[in-house]
């Protein structure tokens, strides 16, 4: 019985992880290059990139 409960929990955890990863992958695909460069990027680099992308 304990095996069934623990096994279900582990398989459930793995299913959840796969679901999260697939969703994250789809989200990432829809992010444009400019937005990606803006993530966690210093202001002086953002300004430089935007100037060159004009």
């Amino acid at each position: 019985m304990a095996d069934i409960i623990v096994g279900s929990l582990v398989i459930g955890l793995y299913a959840l992880i796969v679901f999260i990863l697939v969703r994250r992958h789809k989200k990432q695909k829809s992010v444009c290059a400019r937005c990606m460069t803006k993530q966690d990027t210093p202001t002086w680099i953002q300004e430089y990139q935007n100037e060159r992308l004009k």
Binding site: V10, I17, V18, L21, Q28, Q39, T41, W44, R52
Partner: protein, 467 residues
């Protein structure tokens, strides 16, 4: 020559349009004279990085790391006791404790070191210093025929190679853009920090200068492999100056540093809790079972051994021809942090009979006694993981930006060759210096080295013929 002409023209135009007045250099100008100097700027940068790495890896970080590990170990022991008390089978106990939690904790254990490092790097960024560092390196990279704009993706690449590769869109010259895409993954990204932290804390604890040397090695690798690409492409296009508005120096915000550190730490934990946990489970299963899905007595009968030992054979000239290292290096293509998780799962399996959480001491014992690693081969393994192609997600970004399967294959092949050669040179030369004799694989290493150079000459001739 062209550069000098540009500089002369820029100077003439500036002197015509500038109004004469109170042109006394400000304090910021005076500081910039020192920190953007091509040679002095490098020395100052090396010292600053040594100080930051000392703070994160020797002075402050380990204290937080040890405290976290004590808490995590207590948590794992509590879970292990709970599972055992319910008479759960050995299979599930092993998968949860050794596979899922063991690998996860090995990666998360380095989070405090990385958080302290990210906090101080954010302070440096906020102070305006890092923009000056970009200028210092622009001076050197211009010798490779790279545009000033190439330094920006490389800077972004210190966090993650994916946005860095995507940001090469702004480079107009096609050859320069391709070169930048191929060189940017050599910059150690955030995901490679746990590998650096693991190997340096296990083999070189307390020697913060080693981390500076690893980053210096990355710069040298970028420079030399850039020269290699310049040779293959016969590339000599005009260098475009890097024109950026330098931010004013200011007192960095502690709050901003803290916020940035928390954000990056969240991403790190998210990655560890998903992809790392998933991968560790598969590694544990494949290291403990054979293809008939029967539990194995010895690791040499396992699925993982069967799959990774042919690759391990190729790694002998690099000093780590043990199947566990080959398997861990392979998992790095999914996510670079996973190398640490995979090593924890594989070596804890090999070393302990009871369920133990990996710490620095047990990692040292496992890597040295079971894997046969020395400090030289540890450096070689570290270099191999830093300079071979990046994770699949970054290779996908390379594919998007190179827009050609042929170029993608060339880029991945070139990165693989560079990573292999750097690791091989470190092991062969390091062994020669430390033991005063040649390694047993010196001849095959020499043949591989000469063959690689010959391969570059052949590719160059092909490029000359077909463009």
């Amino acid at each position: 020559m062209q550069n000098k002409d540009f500089s002369k023209q820029a100077h003439n135009i500036a002197s015509m349009v500038m109004q004469q007045g109170n042109n006394k250099p400000t304090l910021s100008d005076r500081i910039d004279q020192w920190v953007t100097h091509p040679i002095l700027g490098l020395v100052i940068f090396a010292f600053v990085m040594w100080f930051v790495f000392s703070l994160s890896q020797v002075w402050i970080g380990p204290w937080f790391s040890d405290t976290l590990m004590i808490g995590l170990e207590a948590g794992v022991n509590a879970i292990a006791t709970l599972i055992e008390s319910y008479d759960v089978s050995v299979f599930w106990q092993g998968l949860i404790i050794e596979g899922i939690l063991g690998g996860f904790i090995a990666v998360i254990g380095f989070l405090p070191l990385i958080m302290v490092l990210l906090f101080f790097l954010q302070l440096l960024e906020d102070s305006g210093y890092m923009a000056r560092v970009a200028l210092v390196f622009n001076h050197y990279f211009s010798h490779l025929g790279l545009s000033g704009a190439s330094i920006i993706p490389m800077y972004v690449g210190t966090a993650c190679s994916i946005p860095a590769i995507l940001s090469t869109k702004t480079i107009k010259d096609d050859r320069q853009r391709k070169m930048t895409i191929m060189l940017t993954p050599f910059v150690p990204c955030g995901a490679k920090l746990p590998i650096i932290a693991l190997f340096l804390s296990v083999f070189f604890f307390g020697q913060a200068y080693m981390t500076v040397l690893v980053y210096a090695l990355a710069i040298v690798v970028i420079y030399i492999s850039g020269l290699g690409l310049k040779y293959i492409f016969q590339h000599d296009s005009a260098h475009h100056m890097l024109i950026i508005e330098l931010p004013e120096y200011k007192q960095p915000s502690i709050l901003l540093g803290f916020k940035s550190m928390i954000e990056r730490a969240k991403d790190f934990v998210k990655n560890a809790a998903t992809i790392i946990v998933l991968m560790n489970g598969f590694i544990w299963l494949s290291a403990n079972f054979n293809f008939q899905f029967n539990a194995v007595e010895s690791a040499s009968e396992s699925i993982l051994y069967t799959l990774s030992s042919p690759l391990a054979f190729l790694l002998i000239p690099l000093g780590f021809g043990f199947w566990g290292f080959a398997a861990a290096a392979l998992t790095g293509f999914v996510a670079k942090e996973e190398v640490v998780g995979a090593l924890a799962v594989i070596f804890v399996f090999s070393v302990t009979s009871d369920f133990d959480v990996i710490g620095v001491d047990s990692a040292r014992q496992a890597l040295m006694e079971v894997g046969g690693l020395t400090s030289i081969s540890a450096l070689s393994f570290l270099a191999f993981n830093l300079f071979t192609p990046p994770c699949f997600a970054a290779i996908g970004a390379m594919n998007t930006e190179l827009k050609s399967k042929k170029w993608l294959m060339f880029a991945v092949g070139y990165q693989l060759m560079i990573g292999y050669l750097v690791a091989m040179i470190i092991y062969q030369v390091g062994t020669m210096i430390t033991t005063q004799q040649l390694s047993s694989s010196w001849l095959i290493s020499l043949i591989i080295f000469i063959s690689s150079l010959a391969g570059m000459v052949l590719v160059r001739q092909r490029v000359l013929r077909h463009g």
